[in-house]
Symmetry: C2
Subunit: 348 residues, 2 copies
């Protein structure tokens, strides 16, 4: 080991600390770092090249305990709350809603990576409901979603709390699915409409919602477009919820995205890291050529449990909405909407 302790960066420290407890899979490491997939891969490669860690039997392990003595002053301390898994909210609340939701969506359409779809876990949907209710953003509220492959709208309406829910969705299968469920379950306050985020915003819908929820693409232009559209739909003092990862967005990218949000008169009130977990299709991860799989250049197994995660953001308008993309205009971002050099779990 030729590496100097001073050369160990934050992400390498997080990896070594994690491995000090025992072997971890590649996907477990992706879940636990606070860095981009790119930087996490570079850290893993550097640690392997310096023979500090090795990859064996589908897991990473510490090669020599010597390095841990230098890097760690203590054995790993498990600080997260085990009850709520560090997400602050109960795993018991809204139990009936969750059971009903799970039953209702059994025949859901499968996610299409071409639309950058990737659905969150049911536990994440419970967390969203918990948090939105806690913040007073659910009961009697008019809620609009742009993109709803998660079918969160159905779970929200099953709480019987919102006044009205509208889903704007580009995937016609999902529009039909949600409208059919709404009809068959007699949920007359849930409706879905075909809408592509590049289209202008319907004049009748503008400035008429209390809450906007989305899980947008992670390019700067793309996410700014999604939240601009949401902004145009909100009343004064409306609320925005969305997820943003570290895995596909460096802090420099977060910075630029956040700056755009403040330009729109939004202020961040809450950011809960790793609040959202995703059920990405393990076969797609392996077969679709995602950079998160190819660039580590190891014989990786499929992920066995959720690893892709995002930080849940809540924002409020402090004044009238000031969308950066003009609601009257159509924009053609095309490939730029979905893809940038930090995209590691996104198709070209």
């Amino acid at each position: 080991m030729s590496i100097n302790i001073k050369e160990i960066n934050k992400t390498e420290y997080i990896i070594l600390r994690l491995l000090s407890q025992g072997t971890k899979s590649y996907w477990e490491i992706m879940l636990e770092t606070f860095d981009s997939a790119l930087n996490t891969i570079q850290s893993l490669k550097k640690l392997m090249q310096n023979q500090i860690i090795v990859y064996q039997n589908n897991t990473f392990k510490i090669n020599s305990k010597e390095i841990l003595k230098e890097v760690l002053k203590t054995d790993y301390i498990d600080v997260k709350c085990r009850e709520c898994e560090g997400n602050c909210f109960s795993k018991q609340s809204f139990q009936e809603v969750i059971l009903k939701f799970r039953e209702i969506i059994k025949d859901r359409p499968v996610a299409i990576p071409e639309f950058d779809q990737g659905i969150v876990t049911i536990e994440t949907i419970r967390n969203r409901i918990n948090f939105m209710y806690y913040k007073g953003d659910l009961e009697n509220k008019n809620i609009v979603l742009i993109g709803d492959d998660d079918l969160t709208s159905i779970a929200l309406v099953l709480t019987n709390l919102p006044q009205k829910i509208l889903v704007l969705e580009a995937d016609q299968r999902l529009v039909d699915y949600i409208n059919n469920k709404s009809k068959s379950l007699g949920l007359d306050n849930l409706k879905a409409v075909t809408y592509n985020v590049e289209w202008p915003v319907d004049k009748n819908l503008r400035n008429s919602f209390d809450v906007f929820l989305s899980d947008p693409v992670e390019t700067i232009q793309g996410i700014t477009l999604f939240i601009s559209r949401g902004c145009s739909l909100l009343k004064e003092n409306g609320v925005v919820y969305f997820g943003l990862t570290h895995l596909e967005a460096s802090l420099k990218k977060w910075y630029k995205i956040h700056k755009n949000l403040y330009e729109m008169n939004l202020v961040i009130t809450d950011i809960i890291d790793k609040f959202q977990l995703y059920e990405l299709n393990p076969d797609d991860i392996v077969s679709k050529g995602y950079r998160v799989f190819t660039e580590i250049n190891l014989d990786l197994p499929k992920p066995e449990k959720p690893w892709y995660n995002s930080a849940f953001h809540r924002l409020e308008l402090i004044d009238k909405p000031n969308p950066l993309f003009d609601p009257d205009k159509e924009y053609k971002l095309e490939r730029e909407l979905y893809y940038d050099e930090e995209a590691f779990v996104t198709l070209y």
Copy 2:
């Protein structure tokens, strides 16, 4: 009750939802709303004037259940994790540190409201340690604090994790106290120095710390000055932790403060609301003429448990620090440092 349901604002809704569970004290309501003390008081007054709630036997209660039927679609749902009380982190971790800390600081100097001092609970100190450790900001790090009436520096050093801790503190009693403890306990990596945030920043200390922690005053100028000073002390990619309340800072103020942070090349990575609870002296609250006590204009009892709370912020530099206040210069903010029109628990 002449009030129309549409006239119930968010904070009034939060209050009514809370009271639907039973009577609550003024201080319990202050703990649970997400709004300023000013707005919370206005909401309470409006609800009382409209005879929706009444104040009796030192508590607020719902005057008529009729209104709840209109405002609430469900009985109150307790969504917070009971184990960690919604703070994401274990109440068991770092147990030895906390016990030792509690013992060591028994002879601490009392807080002086004139310095805007208000110490956090021991549980909050545990939460800070948990969160900083979780984020990789404790082990082997050089940490600097501006203001430390909480004595967090002593708790941090007791973890044996940081490399070095420096406290910059205006109150000479605290400087002496921390240095005496450091000497008597043989903690040679903890040191305190007399420093007023208005003074220039020592050239030898600039750009030499990994982490800055503070619990600043809440005027825009004041908090920007504190974090500017912290910024000057940080290395590139350094980390900032601080608390900001809703009680004394409207979202418009949050917005302006956050904008200043982004100007300094900081990006917000986490905001956990109500993460920090404070042990304000109940007698001071009653006797010092704070607006939170006087403006409600009721015969209030002293608070019986912590109610003053703040949202813990974590930020990272995405580039070199760009402090808005010049580290070479002295600034004289005087009264403006501590006091603005939103100050409700702050002396003139």
